[in-house]
Amino acid sequence: MADTPILSVTGLTRKFVQSTPMTTQIASLITQRRWAPEKAVRAVNDVSFDIAAGETLGLVGESGCGKSTVARLVAGLLTPTSGTILFKGKLLQTCSQKELLKIQMVFQDPLSSLNPRMRLAQQLTEAITVHGIVSRSEQETYLRGIFGDCGIDPILANRYPHQVSGGQRQRFGIARALAMQPDLILCDEPVAALDVSIQAQIVNLFAKLRRDRGLAYLFISHDLNVVRHLCDETIVMYLGRVVERGPSTAIMANPRHRYTDDLRMAAPRVSATKRNFSPVHGEIPSPLSPPSGCAYHTRCRFVDTRCKTDMPPISTTPTGAFTCHNPISIT
């Protein structure tokens, strides 16, 4: 079964419906003799991707593009409106509790994902006990092994989350996910809240764990530098849709979609001279009323009439795909 990807997502869509107030409903019934039209947001729209065992997939985009919703869908915290999620070839909804344990999440802010009133070691022990990962007598050795892998000083384990530094807290967040012996870890902006020097430590930790344990990651981040560094493949999302995909280095070096290029140019980098920022105009439009045609046309500098009316088709390249009417030509 070496060919089956660990995670296979096809046509994933999630719609959030805003409830209409009763008064609006009644007013609509009286005046128009029908129910008020529902207000829906397609937070994730027809997203497909595969993650092979041991592979790292990067997911980038601005806030509100649906990248966290994808992670929540894959984690089973939300149910998809349509589309399928196959975990190791099996439909996610039919996976048993035990199989689902093999998918774990690491969140942005460990201070809000760890229990503030429990000692750090206790929280990990609890997870191990509840799920019966190892027998009670082996727990301590098992935990020590996990701490060693995550570079955690065991002295810190008896502290509370607020008593350790942000980088250490994130290590505990990773340790807790790792204690479940996962095959896939969903990382939702795991380094966004950290200082640059600490961020490097955590990025290296992710790379080491992948090497040692053959973990696969879905790595969500807005930081293109980190994604390029860590991820094999990258998906760029805009307003719930995938606009470009391909190998990370190729996407960053030779993007085809204008949005990917704009993101790349906006990313800060160490430069010896003042940079001429040529920023993208405006902000991500409201997903309640997405623009017609290409969703990016309201901000794109290379927009023409076709972009405003027609949804660009998916163009495939030897290594990836993109959806743009006026792609950047390969030089």
Partner: protein, 323 residues
């Protein structure tokens, strides 16, 4: 004439176990129109320095030594009344979280008008016109509409623009920005950096941009000061700091940022953590995390030496540029 001249500034916080020193002998100058980047990890004292300039130190904190000379006046000795005349008028500040800066129950127009009328009395129509003009300047679309909105009705980027607009209302000569784009998307961050740069160049406003991210600062600043454990460990023109960092800490910060050619390699990391202010080591404060530290470093604190506007405090300075 020097706009801001910080001389041997020390800030202490009173704690139960006695005073805790947070800033140690900070020397810093700023010329009119200059953009200074202040970089350091959390806990390095960069925000405390910015707040000390404006006399906004939180409870228990005070300037224990040194002077903050702003246009010849020592702000560290100024009484609260004099400070109120300077704050938001001659010197403005922009914070990280605009939701904490803006009053959630007041409309934008009221908050903006207040910033002007606190310092001068102008006819209301003139005040409004000024506000709208500034909103236009910071790149807010449909400013008349936004002017009468509440903060929660705007996006994070818009709110930060409003905070910047309020800072600009009284034509300050110095703006302090404390992690002003940290919470924003990269696209919005680029927009704001672009506009701040343009506005400061147009008006000749000096700017101190505080950030933990050297890559953000290097794109906008003329000069960069790197802080560590309450000290400035290196300071100089951007091209000197980036191409020829002398302090190992600066070098570590630059190399921690994933670069184009780092894929697949291990990222450079600075091991360990910054020492806490109560438990500073003897000798160089960075010695415990430094790859080049010698026994001498652990015993004797290095002096800050400056040549051609590029200064650093290190016994074993880096010689080989970035690599």
């Amino acid at each position: 004439m020097t706009l801001l001249d910080i001389k041997n500034l020390e800030v202490s916080f009173s704690a139960r176990k006695g005073d805790l020193r947070i800033l140690y002998g900070i020397d810093l100058t700023l010329q009119p129109g200059e953009i200074l980047g202040l970089v350091g990890e959390s806990g390095s004292g960069k925000s405390v320095l910015a707040k000390a300039i404006l006399g906004l130190l939180p409870g228990g904190g005070s300037v224990s030594k040194g002077a903050v000379l702003f246009e010849g006046q020592d702000l560290a000795q100024a009484d609260p009344k004099a400070m109120r005349k300077i704050r938001g008028n001659r010197i403005a500040m922009i914070f990280q979280d605009p939701m904490a800066t803006l009053n959630p129950v007041l409309r934008i127009d009221e908050q903006m008008r207040e910033a002007i009328t606190a310092h001068r009395s102008l006819p209301r129509a003139e005040v409004n016109a000024r506000c709208i003009a500034i909103l236009n300047k910071v790149g807010i679309p449909a400013p008349e509409e936004r002017f009468v909105s509440f903060p929660h009705q705007l996006s994070g980027g818009m709110r930060q623009r409003i905070a910047i607009a309020i800072a600009l209302l009284n034509d300050p000569v110095l703006i302090l920005a404390d992690e002003a784009t940290t919470a924003l998307d990269v696209t919005v961050q680029a927009q704001i950096l672009h506009e701040m740069h343009r506005l400061c160049a147009d008006e000749g406003t000096a700017l101190i941009w505080v950030s933990h991210d050297l890559s953000v600062v290097s794109g906008i600043a003329d000069r960069i000061a790197v802080m560590y454990a309450g000290r400035i460990v290196e300071c100089g023109p951007v091209e000197q700091i980036v191409l020829n960092p002398r302090h190992p800490y600066t070098l570590g910060l630059i190399r921690s940022v994933p670069a184009e050619d780092s894929t697949g390699h291990e990222l450079h990391q600075i091991p360990g953590l910054m020492p806490s202010p109560g438990a500073l080591p003897q000798g160089c404060v960075f010695a415990a995390r430094c790859f080049a530290a010698t026994a001498h470093c652990r015993d004797v604190a290095p002096e800050y030496t400056e040549t051609n506007g590029h200064g650093f405090a290190c016994h074993v300075p880096n010689q080989g540029g970035q690599i």
